[in-house]
Amino acid sequence: MSHHIIQANNLKYKYPDGRQALNGVAFRITHGESVGIVGANGAGKSTLLMHLAGVLFPDEGEIRIGDVPVTKKTLPLIRQRVGMVFQDPDDQLFMTTVYDDVAFGPRNYKLPEEEVEKRVISSLNTVGILHLKDRPPYKLSGGEKRAAAIATVLAMNPDILVMDEPTSSLDPKSRRRLIRLLQSFTHTKIIATHDLDMVFELCERTIVLKDGRVITDGPTEKILCDAELMEECGLELPLGLQGCPVCGTKKPI
């Protein structure tokens, strides 16, 4: 399964305005891993994800998905393997019906219409919104939009799911439903988020970014429970690990 390995070597990227967003990021993610990428605002999380999906290209260093380096030439292949769920589902849903939106990716790969339909129905079924297939996406609720955005990516049959803030602006129930859904996926998952509780539940490994560098990379339990490290990186302990807001007692770790 070497083609599922994601290898980043010394990634450096500077935005046109001069801000150094990535400053030597390196890691290796193997098949089936769930990895949380956390860090304060501006730490470089979203920029890193864009590199993984081949939306941005590094000034220095390289990313390899399996044996294939992410370059302009390899993009069609990379984009079939890496599915990216954007932070704002409204950016991802632009057709007139949910069905057409989910079919957009498979149709771009010129699959026969029967296969497209099969994939659309199965992706919508997976995220539980098959009944919304004929609705215009802009009339859906936040949670439904998020589910539709994930379905658009699933329909491409990616090996690797890359998500930017998947739980942002979701109500608690939708968030819980999404976490359960993501738990059921067997894909390699890379999730950039501020929702540390979700990382705790979903990802066995966490990479902490600060100022475009990897500060630490290791088992989630060890990293997210390290209050000092969290504080240093502009984060805090997951709410689930903090004391009870009523009586103040600390939870045993």
Binding site: P76, M84, D88, Q92, T96, F104, K110, V116, D134, P136
Partner: protein
């Protein structure tokens, strides 16, 4: 504009009409595009003084809208948006062309006024026909129809992305205006001195948003072509649709039907 959700709904209403099912919606998009093209050609080919001859052209939009079950009011409202532009084009005709065209016992109508109304009607009909095409076909299917007649892909992408980004622009404008009105202490409208910064801000926001949308399209394998899937081939009915309408347009162009009806009514024979 003050209510972004409403303006967005309004801008997308044509797309919703396009998803309806009707005998007109079922016609192959290419035939509808060609029919609309023929209609536009015939409409603009009337000279600015042939006011009565072009009146039967109104039947085409009325019949299509009725058969396709498209409500008239929202579509007419959209045509009205373009009306100031048309009025601007014909505005000076009544001033410069004062030669009498129609002399009635109580009023003399100058050629300028006739040509002004002709421009108004032509503008109204052509915009209406274009909107009806979108409302019965949908932009993506129109694009695929244009692709089949080998219109270069780059033009089609321009068309599709422009259409797509109007919604993005309206959405962003709605947010900017809402944020402005919440802090403008009950004043109506936007102060002139704030226009510059607001439009600049709007431009930057829209570009950023458009970039994100484009990126998400690229991430799903978009390479410059929209594929709409499930498009059936051109049938005999589709060809008859185009041929029938084209023939009626030609008849309307070469025979002044209202005038002929007038002769019949008044029992005048040539």
């Amino acid at each position: 504009m003050s209510n972004p959700a409403e303006s967005l709904y309004n801008i997308r209403i044509l797309d919703e009409f396009a998803d309806k099912k009707s005998i007109i919606h079922d016609v192959h998009p290419l035939m509808k595009v060609l029919t609309t093209g023929a209609y536009l050609l015939v409409t603009v080919s009337f000279s600015n003084y042939e006011l009565s001859g072009m009146l039967p052209l109104i039947f085409y939009p009325v019949i299509i809208m009725t058969l396709a079950d498209i409500p008239m009011v929202p579509v007419f409202k959209r045509v009205l948006l373009a009306l100031p532009l048309i009025i601007g084009i014909g505005l000076f005709n009544p001033i410069y062309d004062k030669s009498p065209m129609l002399v009635l016992p109580w009023i003399t109508i100058s050629g300028g006024w006739v040509s002004f109304f002709a421009i108004l009607i032509k503008g109204f009909l052509t915009i209406l026909a274009a909107l009806i095409l979108i409302a019965t076909t949908g932009m993506t299917r129109i694009a695929s129809a244009l692709r089949t007649i080998r219109i270069p892909g780059v033009f089609i992408i321009q068309l599709l992305l422009t259409y797509r980004y109007i919604a993005v622009l309206v959405e962003e404008a709605g947010r900017v205006v809402r944020a402005y009105s919440l802090r403008s202490a009950g004043e109506k409208g936007i102060k002139f001195r704030d226009w510059g910064s607001l439009t600049g801000h709007l431009l930057i926001r829209s570009i950023e948003r458009a970039q994100r949308v484009y990126r998400s399209m690229c991430c799903r394998g978009f390479t410059g072509e929209y594929h709409t899937g499930r498009e059936k081939g051109i049938g005999i009915g589709d060809i008859l649709y185009f041929a029938g309408w084209s023939l009626s347009f030609v008849i309307i162009r070469y025979f002044n039907i209202p005038e002929m009806i007038g002769w019949v009514m008044m029992g005048v024979r040539r």
